[in-house]
Symmetry: C2
Subunit: 115 residues, 2 copies
Amino acid sequence: MNLSPGQLDTLFQALGDPTRRAILERLARGPATVTELAGPFDMALPSFLGHVRRLEGAGLVETSKQGRTRTVKLVPGAFTPVRSWLDEQRALWEGRLDRLDDYLTRLMKERADGS
Amino acid sequence: MNLSPGQLDTLFQALGDPTRRAILERLARGPATVTELAGPFDMALPSFLGHVRRLEGAGLVETSKQGRTRTVKLVPGAFTPVRSWLDEQRALWEGRLDRLDDYLTRLMKERADGS
């Protein structure tokens, strides 16, 4: 995947807030209006809208307006860059453990042969 | 997993910086001294150490000192809470798509029966 470091920064930073993660958790169950989304939060609407806009800026949600109602929905595949980065880290780590395992096996074999 | 929202905040925020992600990518290949780690970065040492401390605070790396040398290594399983959260989101999303699929199948069957 061709991804600028800035995109990963924006994604991880967007996820580093409990309100924004709660919004995403709600939207994973289906789209919602801003009013529905804001309901459970004890927060002024402008602050709440700031969180929605931050998620929109990170490409995690999309919003659309019909009349006076703004609907928010999750962007399919928006978590993919984050997952890919984590998968790469796991692959590097497991590759390292495999090499360590090979090394220890060889070492034990050499010792057994030498004894 | 029993995880406070604050822990996820700290983890995601720690990952939202290119220098800190690069440190983690390097450490996935094996432990390194602070001097080795800092090498590729055009950054004053105190700023660089700030990033290492931030990763340590999030529980992503461990450091140990022998003489004047500080070694940094990845904490095994440190990404697990982040992965778990992403997996939960995927499960919610896929559950939603499954229900939508069931609904559409039932709707089409009802229409076919009715025609």
